[in-house]
Amino acid sequence: STDCGGDSGMCCRQEFFVDFKEIGWEDWIIQPEGYHMNYCSGICPLHMAGIPGLAASFHTAVLSLIKANNADAAGDSCCVPTQRRPLSLLYYDRDSNIVKTDIPDMIVDACGCT
């Protein structure tokens, strides 16, 4: 997984931060100050498909070869989150109670091609 930066246009993780103060949510979200949302962008050539988590696998190499030689059978490949983590929030609910929770899978940590 790589972070976007250069001009390669390949699948990468784009950092994106939502500042709760900037969007006027700081009055009900006590912590944190913002949300490191992040997202995936970029192209996924066929030979990169299936790489996340299986890059060193013999089977993946075979699969990539098949895909490269037979595009119709391979289908399309997407640049998607491959690793995510929860967002911890401390906030006021509608009854002014204070709630802490961990929302699963909210922060994109890594991207890869399907």
Partner: protein, 232 residues
């Protein structure tokens, strides 16, 4: 997209940066609200004071530590959060009391829980924290009643009753988990607690309480999965 033209999710032309930013912010807002099961952002009219919040958090932390020690688990074990990301979302809730009707020997406290934590919520643990100001030396008996609305009328009925003996000023805790679960199962979101002292004891409760001694309920809850649906 037609087959062979690339993935629909990433094969489209990117919008201009300002539009893209607006879209992402809208997406972030929608995502957070939906995961918190909130139809809209809460409008907060009354913030809990910093002192109240800090005291409540300290009390909670102290009790968790006591539990951890009594269970003989290492102090640094995280006993509150087990598995975020397993499709089950857990909550910790601090609900501060609203004052209800009171007399010289009787005080009612009302704790209201948001409807998002209604019938589909499993209460893992709920503790009522009360700060007592003993009026003088000696022991002071206190009756604590958990009340629930009477389905046949406007009155309240007693769901459970406990007797406490207060020896000195300080915090006392009561397990209200089963009562809260029962209320949620009935589709109710309010817990009413009645405190009663003998006639000649005066009211040791709430009189002159500062914000930081305000009664509260600390609850741990878990969103139940819908019936018939299992997530792997």
């Amino acid at each position: 997209a037609p087959r062979g033209l690339g993935c629909p999710g990433c094969g489209l032309a990117a919008p201009v940066p300002s539009t893209q930013r607006d879209i992402l912010i809208a997406l972030a807002k929608q995502s957070i609200l939906s995961k918190l099961r909130l139809p809209d952002r809460p409008n907060i009219t009354q913030h809990t004071s910093r002192g109240t919040l800090l005291t409540a958090l300290r009390r909670m932390r102290a009790q968790h530590r006591d539990v951890a020690l009594s269970l003989a688990v290492p102090r640094d074990s995280n006993i509150r959060h087990q598995h975020p990301g397993m499709g089950v979302q857990e909550y910790e809730i601090l609900s501060f009391a609203e004052s209800g009707s009171s007399t010289s020997r009787n005080v009612r406290l009302r704790f209201h829980f948001t409807q998002e934590l209604g019938g589909s919520t499993e209460i893992l643990q709920a503790t009522l924290y009360l700060f007592w100001e003993a009026p003088g030396p000696g022991i002071h008996p206190v009756t604590v009643r958990l009340l629930q609305p009477d389905p046949t009328g406007p009155n309240m009925t007693v769901a459970s009753e406990m007797q406490l003996v207060i020896h000195r000023a300080g915090w006392a805790t009561l397990d209200v988990g089963p009562a809260l679960q029962s209320l949620f199962d009935q589709g109710r979101q309010s817990l009413t607690v009645e405190l009663e002292v003998p006639e000649d004891s005066g009211s040791p409760l709430l009189a002159g309480h500062s914000d930081s001694h305000w009664p509260f309920v600390a609850a741990q809850a878990r969103a139940r999965m819908p019936h018939g649906v299992q997530r792997r």
